[in-house]
Amino acid sequence: MSRTTSLPKRIKIHFMFFPAILSDSTTVLEFQFSCSIPAPLHSENDYFGVCSEPVIKDNVVVVYEVLEEMLDNGFPLATESNILKELIKPPTILRTVVNTITGSTNVGDQLPTGQLSVVPWRRTGVKYTNNEAYFDVIEEIDAIIDKSGSTITAEIQGVIDACVKLTGMPDLTLSFMNPRLLDDVSFHPCVRFKRWESERILSFIPPDGNFRLLSYHVSAQNLVAIPVYVKHNISFRDSSSLGRFEITVGPKQTMGKTIEGVTVTSQMPKGVLNMNLTPSQGTHTFDPVTKMLSWDVGKINPQKLPSLKGTMSLQAGASKPDENPTINLQFKIQQLAISGLKVNRLDMYGEKYKPFKGIKYMTKAGKFQVRT
């Protein structure tokens, strides 16, 4: 799901639901709820791939029906997209055609079985020919690095997203090589908390389809490996109207994996009129209006470190800018969870078949900032 497209929608949703804040109701609830409304509406496998104004206009009835199921008298009821999809079927072209011909509707005429059972997140009677369960361990590293290259704060926000397409009522257990890392976790409601407390094993009956199994936080107190470094030499000279600019990006603790998708962005001070730079690889742009420098680096080759060098033309006569630009870094590392988290094994109980299992790791930069 793309964040940018969902943004305007989200704001609309806020407006739509702010009247729901009566007296002194639970704000967090409102916020959390309004953040969770768009989720079922716009994620690919749910109602409409993209949630935009025209889409809502075209499907106003479906949106109304979905919202009606989600909320009654200001009380949020169900936000699990699985359940909503059973109550109100997502519109597809085929279904629209069928509905037009037969006069049937998108409204499910059966009460979803899951909703009132002990496992409200899973419907019964799920059937697949290929039984598969995929888990993605995705870690985002948030860090602030100071001028000299030492870490001020670094923390990891990790999630395990799952896509489970299994027949029947499977009961899964997932165990980790190093569960000690996870001291601050929030689980999907399906996870049996007691079992985790006692054995550090994730035991759960999964929802059908895509869901976020858990999110975790490796805090600043643990040592967090920093996979990249940035060498920078930015100087605004006082008198002359030219400044020097040079940055180099290199790998640090990558456990032998390649760093890809590197982009460097930096908000330059107001006094910078233009920049004349040459990158050793990739492409760069500088917007003289917003003063935003961005450099699309691509892969980092450890033998030949990418660098961006050149001069800045500064406003003549103006004094040295007060603030130093902060460098913002984006990157991706496949097949690595930077915290060192590793899944040990995944077992399934309760069903007879043998599922196909897969686990993928990925590390991304979250808010990764280098001060200069």
Partner: protein
């Protein structure tokens, strides 16, 4: 959906579509009904039948849809018809219908509360708390909570341990939103002891790991509240503290809006229990692309968490922030450095040097902000960091914001003695005095007065200039009043002025913006709600009766230390020492006439009225005729010869001669009785024909605050023509009002017959105090200090004393000789005396041997006393 167009005209046609089998169509028709039933109430009744029918439909979805829509139709006529179907649905076999019906009760209650109570729906709703399905339980709790909120008096949610147990069971099984309802409801419960509190906490803790941040915060609320009941010695208490930290930290990885809500709540939690997050400082470090509202809130929490252990890190961060782009944020960061210095004493030095570094950057707003906080640091640690003043002064010219200018002026004034060119600096500000903001003007006025008191010689002109600017050319009453106060203070008594203006200032407190403890406790009960974001109790922003139930933390159980209890810090009113009598304005006469004078209290009886001396006029001139002669004698020191008083109290003077002839009293003030204190001797003669009893005395307010120090003791009744002599001890703590003449005293004596009024002049020397000797330096300085126009010269004739004799005679009346010298054959005595109210009088007595008259020059800040001092000299010397 209708783009704002009114489509109510289609009502009959739409209602006709109601009985369709198509569920989607049915939903839309119901939506139409909800919107337009109110505008067409008569037509809406046509729909009732369909509702009733739909409520018995075999499909639970349709039953639920009908019952849900019913609640949304706010038409009184219809609601009556809907009670039966609702009752059925509340007992429906399908939980989906039951949970929808539970919510419907809340809706109906909002439309017609009486109806809901009459129909017994509330009891049914309470029964649903024990339902087998957790979703139904959650919705019943939500509905009951909402109803209870609008009716604070009803005890709908009367929870007992059994129902709590049911809720806790349902908590584990229901959806995230249901969990929130249940947790919020639990938070309103008060466990009966700490064991119960602990067991509830144990069952709520797993919710802290929930992915939904609203669930997490509601769980935090329950735990924070019940922790109040747990003893701090318990192991469990420590465990709980540890468990609370990670979920709060995790909340900060959500969307910025949620982060903000979380931060506002964390701000409260940190104030209540700082130990929870004391190790988590780093997560509050600011990312440069955080939204500004998140940044500011993080900064605030950082300062609250700052301690000796982490101050180095915090300072390094703050310094970094001070170079960012966002001006508001930079200012806050600089201010935060100052707050750190004040909070963590050990770090003060480091903070000051950081601030100095920042000042070196010469970035205008950084410098200004730094100066403002350095002022606070000076207040907290006086005489420690004054070495930086020089650096501050360098930046004087760049200051353009009033707050910074005012701060700088304060610093210059406060440390005027250490800044060589303080007068020049202040003078430079004075040029544009009228263009400055009030804040700066006031500060400048004070600073110059301080400067004057510290360096009186060079700055006389400056102070006169500022005083005249403030008092004559300004339209601002605050400024004018302050100017006048200083002016009078300086002209009356420079020593007193020094004491007032240069008084030691109380140190500023550590944290200035803490939320008041009782409010904090209340807000803790509202964690996760709007109140916790506003940091205001709901009653402050919720209109009407909704949600204004006052919540408070449960009291600690007896087992825990009571000192921890939040309730043990009541801010009691100051002990009542209000005067018993507070006369209304313009009612002084009534007071004097009607007061039950009884035995006067030792305090000032006529304390607080600001009435002018209307009483005198109101007496219609009668007072004048009442005035006889009364005399005061006050011979304070042990050395006073007893004969001093006698000549003054020259016999008995009739105080008045009432024409009515009811009775007459005579009084006089004779010899001193008590040593070192002032007393008034009265002679009371009964000239009436009746016996007088029940004497009481009261003084009107007077120039020196004279008041009776004891009740008037007349032991036996006074028979006609009998005379008694009484000595009444006086004090000078009474209320003060300037009289004309200065030594005038108005006295009321009451007895069983009437109230009698007297007026008398007392000699001033009864008010000279024993510590009236000034040292020579001080004498010289003060003499110079007092402007020449305050000097008064008098001739004392027929006083053939030499210098020694005069000096010793005067000394016995507390006029002290400070120095003596001989100029051209004349003896010059320099003398000082002090009045009971702290006014100093300086005197130069010139005695020419052989010449019977001598010359007296008096200098005093309050020139009006000079005349009376002269009279006192004359009396003493001629005795």
């Amino acid at each position: 959906m209708t783009v704002g167009k009114d489509v109510s005209a289609l009502f009959p046609d739409v209602v006709n579509c109601m009985q369709t089998d198509n569920l989607e169509l049915k939903k839309l028709v119901y939506l139409y009904l909800m919107n337009y039933a109110k505008s067409q109430p008569d037509m809406a009744i046509m729909a009732v039948n369909t509702f009733v029918k739909d409520c018995e439909d075999p499909n639970p979805l349709i039953r639920a849809l009908a019952v849900r829509t019913m609640g949304c139709i706010r038409v009184d006529k219809i609601t009556e018809y809907l009670c039966e179907p609702l009752r059925k649905c509340l007992k429906d076999e399908d939980p989906y219908v039951r949970k929808t019906a539970a919510v419907c009760v809340a809706k109906l209650h909002d439309i017609n509360a009486q109806l809901v109570e009459d129909q017994g729906f509330l009891d049914t709703l309470k029964d649903l708390i024990s339902d087998s399905n957790p979703m139904v339980v959650a919705n019943a709790v939500a509905a009951l909570s909402e109803i209870a909120e609008s009716h604070p008096s009803s005890n709908l949610l009367d929870l007992n341990p059994q129902s709590i147990n049911k809720l806790l069971t349902a908590l584990n099984e229901c959806t995230e939103w249901g969990q929130i309802f249940i947790l919020d409801c639990l938070a309103n419960y008060t466990p009966k002891d700490d064991r119960e509190a602990q067991s509830i906490c144990e069952r709520v803790t797993p919710r802290l790991s929930h992915a939904n941040s609203a669930v997490v915060l509601s769980a935090v609320k329950v735990l924070m509240k019940f922790m109040e009941m747990l003893s701090k010695d318990l192991d469990y208490y420590g465990t709980l503290l540890k468990k609370l930290a990670p979920p709060l930290v995790t909340l900060l990885s959500a969307e910025p809006e949620l982060q903000y809500v979380a931060l506002r709540n964390i701000n409260l939690i940190v104030q209540k229990r700082p130990e929870i997050l004391k190790h988590e400082m780093k997560v509050f470090f600011v990312k440069y692309n955080d939204p500004i509202y998140v940044k500011l809130e993080k900064l605030d929490i950082m300062i609250r968490l700052a301690s000796q252990a982490n101050i180095a890190q915090v300072l390094a961060e703050l310094k970094e922030y001070a170079t960012e782009v966002d001006v508001d944020f930079v200012r806050k960061a600089v201010r935060a450095i100052g707050r750190c210095a004040i909070k963590v004493e050990q770090s003060a030095e480091r903070c000051v040097s950081t601030l100095l570094d920042l000042i070196q950057t010469k970035v205008n707003y950084v410098v200004q902000e730094a100066i403002v906080v350095i002022k606070d640091i000076f207040r907290k640690y006086p005489n420690k960091y004054e070495s930086v003043i020089a650096t501050l002064c360098e930046n004087l010219d760049s200051l353009d914001e009033p707050e910074a200018r005012a701060a700088m002026i304060w610093i210059v004034g406060e440390y005027a003695e250490r800044i060589d060119n303080a007068d020049e600096l202040l003078e430079s500000f004075l040029e544009g005095f009228h263009d400055e903001s009030t804040q700066v003007q006031l500060q400048l006025l004070t600073a110059i007065v301080k400067l004057f008191l510290k360096k009186p010689t060079e700055t006389q002109e400056l102070v006169q200039q500022v005083l005249s600017l403030a008092t004559q050319d300004s339209d601002n009453p605050d400024l004018r009043d302050r100017g006048y106060i200083y002016w009078r203070l300086l002209s009356t008594d420079p020593v007193a002025a020094k004491e007032v203006v240069l008084a030691e200032k109380p140190l500023i407190s550590e944290e200035t913006d803490l939320i008041e403890p009782t409010l904090l406790d209340e807000l803790i009960c509202y964690i996760g709600t709007l109140a916790s974001v506003y940091h205001k109790p709901p009653s402050a922003f919720v209109e009407g009766g909704r949600g204004v139930v006052h919540k408070s933390l449960p009291p600690r159980t007896a087992s825990s230390e009571s000192a921890e209890s939040p309730e043990t810090a009541p801010t009691g009113a100051p002990p009542g020492e209000q005067p018993d009598v507070i006369p209304a304005q313009g009612d002084l006469l009534g007071d004097l006439l009607n007061l039950d004078l009884g035995p006067p209290v030792s305090g000032p009886p006529l304390a607080t009225s600001s009435v002018q001396m209307g009483a005198v006029d109101l007496l219609g001139g009668g007072l004048d005729s009442l005035i006889g002669g009364t005399n005061f004698v006050a011979p304070p020191t042990a050395a006073v010869p007893a004969n001093l008083g006698a000549p003054i109290g020259s016999g008995l003077n009739d105080l008045f001669d009432l024409t009515s002839g009811v009775g007459t009293l005579s009084g006089s003030y004779v010899a001193p009785k008590a040593v070192g204190s002032i007393s008034m001797d009265l002679q009371l003669t009964n000239k009436a024909l009746q016996v007088m009893t029940d004497f009481a005395i009261q003084f009107n307010r007077n120039s020196f605050g004279l008041a009776p120090a004891a009740p008037l003791q007349v032991h036996a009744p006074l028979s006609p023509n009998q005379t008694v002599e009484i000595s009444l001890p006086l004090s000078t703590v009474g209320s003060v009002m300037k009289m004309e003449p200065l030594n005038n005293l108005q006295v009321a004596v009451k007895n069983n017959i009437d109230v009698f009024y007297f007026s008398t002049l007392y000699p001033l020397h009864i008010l000279f105090v024993e510590d009236g000797k000034m040292d020579r330096q001080m004498f010289l300085a003060t003499w110079k200090d007092i402007p020449n126009e305050n000097e008064a010269q008098f001739q004392i004739r027929d006083c053939p004393l030499n210098a020694e004799a005069a000096s010793s005679k005067l000394q016995s009346s507390n006029i002290f000789t400070v120095a003596k010298r001989n100029v051209e054959g004349q003896d010059m005595l320099y003398q000082s005396l002090k009045l009971t109210n702290g006014i100093w009088v300086l005197a130069e007595l010139r005695i020419q041997p052989g010449n019977p008259s001598c010359t007296l020059s008096l200098k005093c800040r309050a020139p009006e006393v000079s005349q009376h001092v002269y009279q006192a000299y004359e009396t003493i010397l001629k005795n």
